[in-house]
């Protein structure tokens, strides 16, 4: 519990973060920028897991464990995405979304 801060305020902040991520995901044209937006979305979800665990079910640890799992999956996803981006840049010298059509081998 944060003294003086209710769960509603934290959930409001995470919702705002989530939709900022969605906004970036739709409007950006660059693959790395899209990756950054995905990180924002994932982080908003992780804070929700942790905060709801802390405020509503403080005696169990499931929220924290799921947060660890999400962070692990995010790390794997980022490593793969960076590998794909670098390989793509070698092949077509661009990472803009609308110029990518060589993925279909």
């Amino acid at each position: 519990m944060i003294p003086g801060v209710s769960i509603y305020e934290i959930l409001t902040v995470t919702s705002i973060l989530f939709f900022i991520g969605v906004y970036g995901f739709i409007t950006r044209k660059n693959l790395i920028s899209i990756l950054i937006s995905v990180e924002l979305i994932l982080n908003a979800a992780v804070i929700n897991f942790v905060v709801i665990n802390k405020y509503l079910y403080p005696d169990i640890l499931e929220g924290a464990v799921f947060a660890i799992f999400i962070i692990a999956v995010a790390a794997a996803e980022t490593a793969l995405a960076v590998a794909i981006i670098i390989n793509l840049y070698r092949q077509i010298s661009s990472v803009e979304v609308d110029e990518i059509e060589t993925m279909k081998h």
């Binding site: 519990m1 950054i36 947060a67 794997a76 490593a79 960076v82 590998a83 390989n87």
Partner: protein, 174 residues
């Protein structure tokens, strides 16, 4: 005191997240994301989950940000300005996001949460025991699955990033 710190952290999170998705310089956008991730670690510290905050700082702020910065260096010219979406599309997306945000907030504020007053914290030993416990409610199977997933992702990333030689690729794409 904690209240003030939380509001400062929330302001940092929102401002730098907006800066991160609207900045036209790639590297600055990544650095703004770094501030957002550190702010999130601050929230974990505030609710006394120190272990998660440490994980957030080491894996996200230490690992993922460095990976993204490396890919920016390998892929981009630093001075290059990113192109923005058309204003109409930006406005439409912003409207859609605000609508979704409003829906979220209405749902959240209408739901009666049964908050339990507590000062519990989690210790690393408890989390480790839960992750390795094979009794009911234990997480040994997801833990093993996630480790295999990480291994597969790392091997796959190496294989994909190694690629073929440039000259053969240029010939095959022409």
């Amino acid at each position: 005191m904690e209240e003030i710190i939380f509001y400062i952290l929330a302001a940092i999170l929102v401002i730098f997240a907006i800066a991160s998705v609207t900045s036209r310089k790639m590297l600055r956008s990544v650095i703004y994301l770094l501030f957002v991730l550190c702010g999130i670690a601050g929230i974990y510290f505030l609710i006394d989950y120190n272990f998660l905050a440490a994980i957030q700082l080491t894996i996200y702020a230490g690992g993922i940000i460095v990976l993204i910065i490396f890919s920016v260096f390998l892929v981009h010219h630093i001075e290059l300005q990113l192109e923005l979406a058309k204003p109409g599309k930006q406005l439409l997306t912003a409207l859609a996001c605000l609508t979704g945000l409003g829906l979220f907030l209405v749902t959240i504020y209408l739901h009666p949460f049964e908050v339990v007053e507590n000062t519990n914290t989690i210790s690393t030993a408890e989390v480790g025991n839960l992750l390795l416990s094979y009794t009911e409610g234990g997480f040994i199977l997801p833990f093993e699955v996630i480790s295999v997933l990480l291994l597969a992702a790392m091997v796959g990333a190496i294989v994909i990033a190694k690629g073929k030689k440039l000259s053969t690729n240029n010939q095959s794409t022409e």
